[in-house]
């Protein structure tokens, strides 16, 4: 059974003239225990998609979808409160800039304690305070913070970015979620800290069978930690498949360009040669091209590309392109 199954999710911004589709009919499916990477450039709508799943988008964004199933339940039929109850119980999210995501005037301990699920506490109300404290300390141990006494008493600005992110993960773990959405958890972090955070996420995935949706702009880095990858471009679905399929045999010209643009140690590149890039830059929300949004930049674009392509499925490797690069590999 799929953990989450989203079909044609759109997020639009109502402007005075016409609605802008910041995310345009995106599909996303995840199985239990899967680590999926969601890759795209900045502004490709991956953070919006994640926030729409968790339901923390501002009121100005309108979300609708053809299908939004969570473990077989159709969430579209439920009211907003019921949906929020289910989602906040089973889905947790960590953000970029962890320090900005912690209340600067409250100690880490208090913030952890309020995240602790009330249903997990047993005993009378006078015992609950103590239990909450213990639960908070346990959570800190789970994310590998051993000096819990210092940590509980400190304020967010007294900790490093990596520690703050660990605290965020600890808070996310408090409700024992089935799915953890990590929105660029290591942006602006040193590479040693990045590795620690990723290793922590990987071990949580293996030990607790927790699914992880890892959002990143760095395809190269994500491939080390994920089973499957979904690629987005400018709010549109591009390609989804296993990490090997995406990395070794991308069918979509955009994914091809993304893979080629990152230098690899194994490939010999002559000195001072230019790296492969696509011409132009990602379109702004006010000037989105019709049809396939990659059209103006795509090396394989033809007249047909002014219509949005249908998703083609090759052995669970989905690609949204009129002219996939399928024949290049044989």
């Amino acid at each position: 059974m799929n953990l989450i199954d989203i079909r044609n999710l759109s997020i639009k911004l109502q402007t005075s003239t016409k609605p802008i589709f910041a995310v345009d009919r995106v599909n996303l499916t995840m199985k239990e225990g899967e680590v999926r990477g969601l890759v795209g450039e900045s502004g490709s709508g991956k953070s919006l998609l994640a926030q729409a799943i968790v339901g923390v988008l501002d009121e100005k964004w309108q979300v609708d979808a053809d299908r939004f199933h969570w473990r077989g339940n159709d969430l579209m039929r439920l009211s907003a409160e019921e949906r929020k109850a289910i989602i906040s119980k089973d889905v947790a999210m960590i953000f970029q800039e962890p320090m900005a995501c912690l209340d600067p005037t409250t100690t880490i301990g208090e913030q952890l304690e309020e995240a602790v699920d009330v249903e997990q506490l047993t005993g009378y109300f006078w015992q609950k305070r103590q239990q909450r404290k213990l639960a908070a300390i346990n959570l800190l141990h789970k994310v590998g913070i051993k000096q819990h006494e210092v940590c509980v008493k400190s304020f967010p600005h007294q900790l490093t970015d990596a520690l703050c992110q660990r605290v965020m993960i600890a808070m996310a773990l408090a409700r024992r979620p089935m799915l953890l959405i990590a929105d660029e958890p290591t942006a602006a972090m040193e590479s040693t800290n990045q590795g620690q955070i990723f290793r922590l996420l990987a071990s949580l995935n293996q030990l607790k069978n927790m699914s992880i949706l890892l959002i990143s702009h760095d395809l190269e880095n994500v491939t080390h930690w994920t089973n499957t990858i979904t690629v987005m471009y400018s709010g549109q679905f591009v390609e989804a498949g296993t990490t090997e399929q995406i990395f070794n045999q991308p069918y979509h010209p955009y994914t091809r360009a993304l893979v080629d643009s990152s230098p690899k140690a194994s490939r010999m590149i002559p000195n001072k040669s230019r790296l492969m890039t696509l011409p132009g830059s990602i379109p702004t929300l006010q000037h989105l091209p019709i049809g396939c949004r990659l059209g103006p930049r795509c090396p394989r674009a033809q007249q047909k590309c002014v219509h949005a392509p249908k998703i083609k499925n090759f052995h669970s490797h989905q690609v949204s392109c009129h002219f996939p690069l399928k024949d290049n590999y044989s």
């Binding site: 926030q51 968790v54 339901g55 900005a100 005037t105």
Partner: protein, 342 residues
Amino acid sequence: MLIFTLRRFSLFFFTLLLLTMLSFSLSFLFPGEQLINLTGQISASPEQLAVLANEYQHHSGLLGQYISYLKHLFQGDMGYSMTSHLPISNEVLNRLPATVELASVALLVAMFVGIPVGFCAAIYHRKAADNLILTIAMIGYSIPVFWLGILAILVFSIQLGWLPSSGQISLLFEIKHITGLQLIDIILSDSPYKWQAFQDATRHLILPVIVVALAPATIFMRLARSAMLEVLDTHYIKAAKAKGLTFSQIIYRHAMRNAIIKVIRDIGLQFANLITIAMVTEVIFSWPGIGSWLIESIYQRDYTAIQGGLIVLSSFIFIVHIIIDLVYAALNPLAREPRHGT
């Protein structure tokens, strides 16, 4: 926190030093003899003046004069009033508590009304309640205080007859002067009509407090509203939502404290404004405070009183500033730490 406090106090010290310099230089700038301006002894004989000149080291340099002036100031000697021939320090001690009472009650009322209303406006952002509150705040801020005071007397004292129009307490009650703060004195006194006196004093307090508090309350409304909107837009509120907290939990546990911190900073700044309003209100309501006394002495060209009142009133404002700064630091962990760079 200790360093923070010490820094505030050193700031207090130097600001007071500058204030005394200003007040000292005023005695030169006012028309008339400098020594008489400083001491307020207009009808002194030449012999007495010679003694005073010796006391204030009138024949040494400016620095010596200033230091002797400071010495007198620290001994509580601010000279004599030119009109009433009473020591200024006595007058100030008699008058200041009434102003402290009026201003602090008004400040508390303005805070406890303005800030929650402002938070409500932010929570109902872009809804009818928000617009209504903003309109009220705009109107309240635009009403001139002297007009509002007269109007309040006209409506509530004369036409409706609900509240007394002037003074601090009815003349029937005799309350001993202990702290000077009327309400506290009444509680401390052992008069058999204590309770009635307390009621009467409160009734006298209501109108001036409302008049003084209106403008600051509307400013606090707008400050609180914008602070709350800013806080509600931050990442940690979004993260708290994702954590599964309900809206009221987010408001009470996270948004309120952070928003209040932002507002408290500005409360100190608004306090000087509030004192100015209180001075005008004191004149309208014949409130026996230092504000009306100071305005009176300006009319009567009582230069010594102006100098003394200036120092006392501004140090009072500054003390309140420091208290608010300390409260701010107690609430905000970021302010307590010494800043390096950035």
